[in-house]
Amino acid sequence: MEKHFLILTVTVPLATATLIPLLSIRWERAGFWLASLALLFSFGSALILVGGVLVDGRIAYHVGGWAPPWGIEIFLDWVGAFFLLLASSLSLAVAIFSRIYVEQNLEASKIPLFYVLLLLLAGGMIGFILAGDIFNMFIFFEIFSLSSYALVAISGGLESLKASFRYLLMGTISSLFVLLGIGLLYSLTGTLYMPLLAQELGVLPYSGAIRAATALILVAFGIEAALFPLHVWLPGAHSLAPSPVSALLSGLVIKMGVYGMIKVLFYILGGRGSSEIGALFSLMAATAIIVGALFALRENDIKLIFAHSSVSQIGYVILGIYLFSYFGLAGGLLQVLNHALAKSALFLCAGVVISQAGFRRLEDLRGIGRRMPFLMVFFTIALASLASLPFTCGFASKYYLCKGAIERGEFWLAGIVLLGSFLTLLYCVKIVNYIFFATPAVGRGGGERSYPEVSPWMMVPIGVLGFGSLLVGIFPGLSFILIKPAVLGLLGMVR
């Protein structure tokens, strides 16, 4: 029964997206309500589906009743369940948060468009997670990429248009590479269905063509994941997009690149060539961790700090995956969860500050912790999690990454992990110093700045993310309900 939700969880957001422009003509808030309802539905069905995975391990749906290799299959396994749960819950939180934010910050005519794009983004990501063959993966990849370019540009300023264009350029290269890689794989094996593809590739010698295809697809997903040095589009796009969009881009969209890499490395290649790929990509990830953190340390604009920090944090995820070991993968997936919750909470908080108070430079944030205490408590929880302090999810993920690196005898990678979290701590403390331990900034009238009340539509999503962060931080073991079988499943695919 629950397998029908597989197709519904993708199609409902996509179909609703087409309804919004129509209904918005008559009904002003149609965008918000329809988008929230559709994403609520997706979230609900994601819960049902995860329940199904907990029971069966893998659930699949054959579109039109045609079984693969002829028909299209969409399926969900442990890894997918982990990502699906994240994608559907975060999209819902962001949609709810957007209600007030969008009304305050976008022209009224763009609001329906915003929700259309949001739904396409969410639906695209969910489809990408569920796709059973690589061509459908590519299609959904395009859907969510295109909508994210548009979302970055939606506020219409020159800077955000430039950022969006840069993102578009890199993104187009990325899609092109994916397509080329898929073409190569298809010409080698004659199939696009992943299990079959893996089977066919398994009997072929590890030739230059397979290597080329792998390289193309991995680099493409590396661009999407903003892996150093392919990250140049990220700081601009993530910092200039509207804050809820930044939350989604940093929290989820870059993780889709990671998910794509996992699919290629494990589901298709079965861990083949892991040593040479691993060496290169872990080097890139290590550089990303350090360089991203250094850039974040240098910045003064709060959203730019978070954007650079995403480059650094995604480095941890990718490092974990390319360690190809239990602890490495577990640490990487835990870091996905940690960063998704923490970074989207941070961007949403930044959104509140920017939207209510109208500034984003650190100097302007002086003493804001005394004015918006509750918001800033969640903000600090998220920062602590990012900085991997004890009793946060970040600690557990850094611990496992460190352990994974030491197990492989790569002490320097363990050192990089720790150096990176030290640098992260530095820029987090820098922010905390401004927020809590500085005299409040003086407003235009000479007195202290006043801060309007924060609407519950904004506070509730932030609160939920903050509490989620706290919960999986104190009990990271909870996430191992999904992570452990996911990692074991991935390692089981390694031949």
């Binding site: 352990k403 197990e407 104190i474």
Partner: protein, 487 residues
Amino acid sequence: MSAPIFTYLPVLLVFIPIILGMLIFLVQKEGVRIFLALLASLIGFGGLSWMWPTISKGLVLATRPIFLAPEIFLYFRVDALGLLFALVSALLWIFTVIFTVKYMEKESFKGRFWGFLTLAVASGIGVTLAGNLITLFFFFEMLTVFTYPLVIHGETGAAMAAGRKYFLYLFVGEALLLFSVVFTIFLGGTVFDKVGMLPTTQSPNLLRFLLFTFVLGFGVKAAIFPLHRWLPEAAIAPTPVTALLHADAVVNVGIFGLIRVIYNVFGPELIQSLGMDGLLIWVATVTMIFGSVIALRQDDLKRRLAYSTVAHISYTLLGAAVLSASGLVGALIHLVSHAFMKVSLFFCAGAIDRGTGKKRVSELGGMGYRQPLVMVAFTVASLGLIGVPPTLGFLSKWYLWMGPLEAQQSIFLGALILSTLLCAFYLLPITYRAFFKHAEGPVERQRTSWFYLLPIFVGAVGGLLLGVFPKPFLILARVVSESFLGG
């Protein structure tokens, strides 16, 4: 070692004060905050004293492991070493709270101060009661985090600079420490239930490297040379915080970690076979002499006391590193004596500062007339720190001197004696100046609040009384040395 007695009391002892500390942030009334802070310290001390009879018989109390994630679990295990450190922290905590009531009366952001003070000391006690490396690391890092807002409490440029230094030093140390912890767990040890948890079959160089990172990691907090720079800088913080740093928790916890590493992680035999005991002893000796010499040259009273801490904490390291029974007993007793005396000295410095605004040693002329009781206590505490009989400091030095003799390394005995002389040189002139030099300008007698005098006298007289009746701590120290070095 016998099997531990099962109890969840240590969890409560750590987490109830932490929860109370968090509640303080929500409270607006100063009276309620003080009540909560005092309650937290009393709960801590009460619970720990209740464990004393059991632990002093050589038994061990432990919780079950509380798993947070695979391999990451909280586990509390109270042995004599942990209880000794925890008792010192908890006892001085009560008096730090009393001192703070008056000292911080006119400061702003008191809610924050009370909250973080409570959280910090509770985390410090968490470190001492930790039963495995992860728990130890958790509370160790929490202590650093919660102390940071206290160090920068003034929010002035100088305070922020001190905070930055504090932060850089301690968190680099913690990164190294986390590496060592993960590496040790990788090698197969995490629970402190035996002497030497590492497999001796590992390559010696790898183990030396591990010991090195451990020493750097804990050494930053224990302020061993040349990692000590943050400690004198942090003297800019309010006096209760300096007490916290120097006597209640922070520095103590650093040296506590080193003792755990020497005895529980590596074990005396492994340390000796690696030939690393010599290195530790030399590090301690250099720090001891260096700290004392620098202290001589400081005019700022709190900075002079801070460098004195650098020197005295290394006595403890030296005593622990000579790997002899007397040395270890002396090290532990010295830690207790130092904590009592140093808390008293710092509180004196704070009381002088609040009463007269004098911060420099050179300005202290006539202070013996202005604040006689404070200066009397200061003198008693100085004598205790120097080790004049019958203070606890004398007892600890006695054992400490026996240590190198037992281990036949008498050159370090010379270093200890030299350092003691230097200690007299940098402390006694203060007393001399206060009582026998005239002040510049008019001098009038001042009434010092009992909120100051009580904690000051508890430290000084407590050190004196413990010298005569050393049983509570001496028994614990003996149990520690028996369990680690076999009597």
